[in-house]
Symmetry: C2
Subunit: 294 residues, 2 copies
């Protein structure tokens, strides 16, 4: 089977062996924003056409490729949702040639106040990252839109999204804080200072101005601004959304954000564990096993 | 006396009568960002040269004109600071011709966690806005950097700044929320919904994503996005920083933000009162009275 985690800005394709393990992997040409209208079959062929011609006949897609801006809009299944229900919601896409192309739906939920929540693609990563079947877990998927996911008895019970990554990008580039931003956030004392600050009184908007004031008084070096701001925002996200008690948080994803979230969770009194970076491939394999391919 | 409230992006000049009342007012050519290095005497002459030639010999400046990027850097006086101490900290600026040009210093403070706070210009507006001499008051000066000021026994005891206005500008233009922003924030049901949301669990970063999700599900019209986001941010600012109990908040400033803050304070259970929009002129008059002009 070919598994593709096809997001807004990037795509990852995996060729899976019969047991679901990753035989080969590649980065695709780009996310759905790079695909012209009607261009998804051609983009898929560009990405994995050689694998198809080598005999792979099953293709399973997940992510924003199933959004209104993607190949076709797939429904959102309301939580709670388990693996079987997610597989039952998979839809078929038209594709010229012998391959069967299928698309995983997204999930919807509501937060404690009834405000809607949505995800597309993360649900597959979550099922791929679970350490046990049928159990409880807390997961966090850092990113532009960071997701905190509660799993109960093997099903995704609900989730909460924070605009943490996008807020970092907008605030670091388009406010007075831009003057003190150099380079990228690093795990270290400045990041830790930002995380600690996130637990002090006054709220995030006050803490953002405080970063400027610390810089003005020489108490925060320009080279430390990005790390401090990252720690401040991730710290607020973690304090508001990490599970109560001592349940570990399984971090899903790849790249430097994983280290930063793990550090922030630990400094806020929690425990974080890093998951396999190929969680999407494993999740798609688990769903693919449940489909009636013709 | 000529009083000039000279900020980063704009300048307001007042010609005051002998009793301190405003005889004439004008907007200057622009804030300090528009003045080239060494160009402040000429910029002042452009702004009020005709008043000087008509016999005014005393000029008192406040605001960011006293910052490192301004005419000359004036010190920050540490809080608490009363009117007499502020007047004692005024410095003289060199100016060709008969006029005496003086500059009001800024104030510094520390928040409850020891993080520094600074203001330049707002201290003059606060003293100009006070309804009684020697008493206690809470004031709020909405803006890009919103200030909450505590006055005790007639002195500015401390203050707290929030990056509320700049955060609104950056988030509304440079995140996924930009798709649902049309026009300017208006006081109305969408603003109120944002204020109410600011009191729900999950924190600001989660609430920001929720605005997007509400739009996606058709529960927030595109025309309401700016008002909702403004209510959300101002609501967070108000909840974190308004005084406890039922002390009224005196709002200082001008323009649409005053109405929005008054509304948010009321909806968060507080009381707001609008102050005279010429608070800066009155404050500069009160300081000018205390100076030994030659």
């Amino acid at each position: 089977m070919i598994a593709v985690d096809w997001g807004t800005s990037s795509a990852r394709a995996y060729r899976l062996g019969p047991d679901g393990t990753v035989a080969e992997r590649r980065e695709g040409a780009g996310g759905i924003l790079h695909v012209p209208p009607g261009g998804f079959p051609a983009a898929l062929d560009d990405m994995v056409g050689d694998w198809l011609r080598a005999g792979e006949a099953r293709v399973l897609l997940s992510g924003m490729v199933g959004s209104r801006q993607g190949w076709r809009e797939a429904p959102y299944l309301p939580c709670p949702v388990g693996l079987d229900a997610l597989a039952a919601g998979v839809i078929a896409l038209p594709f010229e040639g012998a391959a069967q192309v299928r698309l995983v739906p997204g999930l919807s939920a509501a937060d404690a106040s009834g405000v809607p929540e949505v995800m597309r693609g993360e649900e597959v990563q979550v099922f791929g990252a679970l350490r046990e079947t049928g159990g409880d877990a807390w997961l966090c998927l850092p990113g532009s839109h960071a997701k905190w996911v509660a799993v109960r008895a093997g099903r995704i019970a609900g989730f909460s999204t924070s605009l943490t990554g996008e807020a970092f990008a907008a605030l670091s580039a388009h406010t007075i804080l831009a003057r003190m931003i150099e380079g990228r956030p690093e795990p270290g004392p400045a990041f830790d200072a930002g995380v600690a600050r996130s637990g002090e009184p006054g709220g995030l908007l006050h803490h953002l101005f405080g970063a400027r004031a610390l810089g003005l008084f020489g108490r925060l070096a320009a080279g430390d601004g990005a790390s401090y701001l990252s720690g401040l925002l991730i710290g607020h996200d973690v304090r508001e959304n990490r599970p109560d008690g001592d349940a570990p948080v399984d971090l899903v994803g790849a790249g430097p954000l994983m280290t930063l979230y793990a550090r922030a969770i630990a400094r806020c009194g929690g425990r974080a564990r890093l998951c396999d970076a190929d969680a999407a491939a494993r999740g798609l394999a688990l769903i693919g096993e449940r489909l009636a391919w013709t």
